[in-house]
């Protein structure tokens, strides 16, 4: 990781995008012991709908979605940035929503799995996951799909990855690119081979 690059980002951006640098944190107990939690108002858009919440400042974006807005499609697999089950898309980029406090998202646009499609009207990625059986227990699945959606956009936008061979050429979708970029989304059921098939089908426009 290029440390200098990070220093040039604003703190908020680092927090919003820096899933890879996060580690488990035990929230300071002191403020809980000393008095009432601090509550803040925050407004953001979720799946096109404006939401205003009064939240304990310790509330993660993930818990704001799951517990307050009752959008439980985003999953909590570890709550500290190690599994990807909580992946959502914020202002076009995927993040681990468990690593991000809700109050940091004032004015942001959040897309969750519920915003991509519904059982009656599946997003092409969702339909491809069903066709290719790209899931088993389904718990990592919303994170995989949100991540895959953002990965395809990243490749389109020319964002390179560890396996990108030529940084000057236009980046092409490949299964290796996908596997590399999706490696933050753990599937303990081991549906990887099918997930790759599903996403590749959509990426290659066969869906």
């Amino acid at each position: 990781m290029a440390i200098l690059d990070d220093l040039q980002l604003s703190r908020r951006e680092v927090m919003a995008t820096g899933a890879a640098i996060g580690v488990a944190t035990v929230p300071a107990a002191a403020d809980a012991a000393s008095g009432q939690p601090s509550i803040m108002k925050v407004s953001f858009t979720v799946n096109g709908q404006r939401q205003t919440l009064e939240l304990d400042t310790r509330t993660t974006l993930l818990d704001a979605l799951r517990e307050h807005l009752k959008l439980t499609g985003s999953k909590k697999g570890c709550d500290h940035g190690q599994c990807g089950a909580c992946t959502v898309i914020v202002d076009g980029r995927r993040i681990n929503s468990c690593l991000s406090l809700a109050v940091m998202h004032e004015g942001d646009e959040v897309t969750t799995i519920e915003g991509l499609g519904s059982p009656e009207k599946l997003h092409p990625l969702q339909a491809a996951f069903v066709r290719h059986d790209g899931y088993q227990c389904g718990y990592c699945t919303p994170g995989q799909i949100c991540s895959a959606k953002a990965v395809l956009d990243e490749i389109k936008a020319g964002v390179p990855s560890h396996v990108t061979a030529d940084l000057t050429a236009k980046i092409q979708f490949s299964e290796d690119e996908l596997r590399e970029r999706m490696s933050g989304n753990i599937c303990r059921c081991g549906a990887y081979s099918n997930i790759v098939a599903a996403v590749a089908e959509v990426a290659e426009g066969k869906a």
Partner: protein, 732 residues
Amino acid sequence: MKFDTPATTNPIDQLKVVGKPVDRIDGPMKTTGRAPYAYERHDAIPDIAYGYVVGASIAKGRIASMDLSRAKAAPGVLAIVTAAEAGKLTKGDFNTAMLLGGPEIQHYHQAVAVVVAQTFEQARAAANLVKVEYVRSKGSFDLASAKDGATKPKDGGPDSAVGDFDAAFAAAPVTLDETYTTPDHGHAMMEPHASIAAWKGDKLSLWTSNQMIAWGAGDVAKTLGIPRENVRLMSPFIGGGFGGKLFVRAEAILAALGAKAAGRPVKVALTRPLMFNNTTHRPATIQRIRIGTDRDGRITAIGHESWSGDLPGGGPETAVQQTRLLYAGANRMTRTRLAVLDLPEGNAMRAPGEAPGLMALEVAVDEMAEKLGMDPIDFRILNDTQVDPEKPSRPFSQRRLNECLRTGADKFGWSRRSRTPGQTRDGRWLVGMGVAAAFRNNLVMKSAARVRLETSGVVTVETDMTDIGTGSYTIIAQTAAEMMGVPLTRVNVRLGDSSFPVSAGSGGQWGANSSTAGVYAACMKLREAVAGKLGLDPATAEFADGRVRVGNQSLPLEKAAAQGPVTAEDFMEYGDLTKTHQQSTFGGHFVEVGVDADTAEIRIRRMLAVCAAGRILNPKSARSQVIGAMVMGAGAALMEELVVDKRIGFFANHDLAGYEVPVHADIPHQEVIFLDETDPMSSPMKAKGVGELGICGVGAAVANAVYNATGVRVREYPVTLDKLLEGMPVLA
């Protein structure tokens, strides 16, 4: 219904719906985030408070004192429950340690308190204010040093012997005597253990994540000391289990206790870092294998001994099981020994016994073949047996291991493998291929279901069977559709509720065959009832295309429900076909790896499994079971290890960054071939399980491939690059 004679032709054999690779019926809900898991039941109950579990920070000893004052005074706290407040709790039948510890502590991260507060953040903050003083006592944490004190477990047939192993092994011209170790493994399912508890008077509702609903309801009742009929468990969606959710765990009991104390519904999820030491794991093993053959490679003596550890009162990892059945040989012995360890509770994880057992046996077989100068596939085929080698009067119901191996060899390009290791290069990679046999017994379990023909013509199936990612919803719907002659879209399946008839549940790869056989039995009864209502002869009635036909008389199915729904309930139980015939599932795993010639980094390049497992009810979801198990086996081979801190007595790497499991980049495209097979001895479905077969042997196939690539034989799993570096071939 009782299944005690081999199946003949029945409605399932039409295979109009069963046996088809249909998409899962729960797929649209799961892929859109609409399937509600245990912690997410906002729909079921309002006003839920949050519980947060405090785990013990010693492995063995006593709580000297607990200071709850600061936690109790923290904002939002509604209740704190410790063993001191909980009243009498009884250990569940399926648990080894108490789910709420104190004053005695039996293992690290055993729960000692649950803090209930208005919000999750408040509960978590207050839980950090619970102060516990412990008195630590000396524990036993190291299997290798406890091994010599290991004893013979009371049950489970720990010893087996046929012929004279010692004499035959001593006389054998070619022998192998090696010891292999497998470490502790974590289930690490993606959905943490989670439950919501709500009391109405003395009745408890528990939305939970559990593979075995009836066992769970029984153990919740027993633990809390309340009548079983006062407990209702609901578990319609389960975010993975792999054996880790076979039993009631702490979060369910603590949610119930917390809800009682707070006077409000309470939900509790185990945090990821608590899961590995708080719950169960697959125990580590030390395995000694001895094989003796004649000069032609025929096994004359085969012996397998295994040592594992568990808490007092716990059980062994039965790693020798498959060695009693997998290969021929007149002189045989197995021995299972159990040491007392004060680590967290050891218990079932996907293919308990065979998964670690085959990781050792199938490497030993590879080594033996090499000693004999034989191809490892030829060696296995030469030593095939069509009967139980301990009891030759008992044949296998089906056994096509040889065909699995031959088919796989052909499809995988096995002939391109160099028999001398370290010979194949592809750029910077040393390339190797490995093979192993897959073997797992087919268990059958009594299973019940209720089916109802609704007035709309829809068929509803209710059973407490669970779908842990296995595809139960779909294969149950396929079974009911086939039996009642309706399309899949006209079947409704409701699972995982203890108010439904008791099923086989999800474990031991018995779920698919057993639960659908229960649905078959219930549908047989419903067919009779429907025919009766329509005034048709049930014996000759045919159910197809939404109609019931006898001769040239044909009536719409739903006509039978014109006066109201028609319901039937039945179960399938089993006679002694499992005793007269050995029922097992078989496969061949083929793996190609690349090992970096400089760094010894190991990458899996190709994987193939060929399985013979009876009728495959849904090739799409069955294939997923197999590839998923192969992934878990690859993890066991190359990275998974719960590292024991032997001073303090806990698994040090207790999260997903420390306990590494395979990720996308570790797994290549995988192939699975199912041999066309039906097994009429197993059930009217003629099916067997595949969910565990897929993990059986794959670890050894990976290890054998690494050996073939490098010439370095690693007998201590996981096979990591540090164990290869010293022995790597000198670069030309």
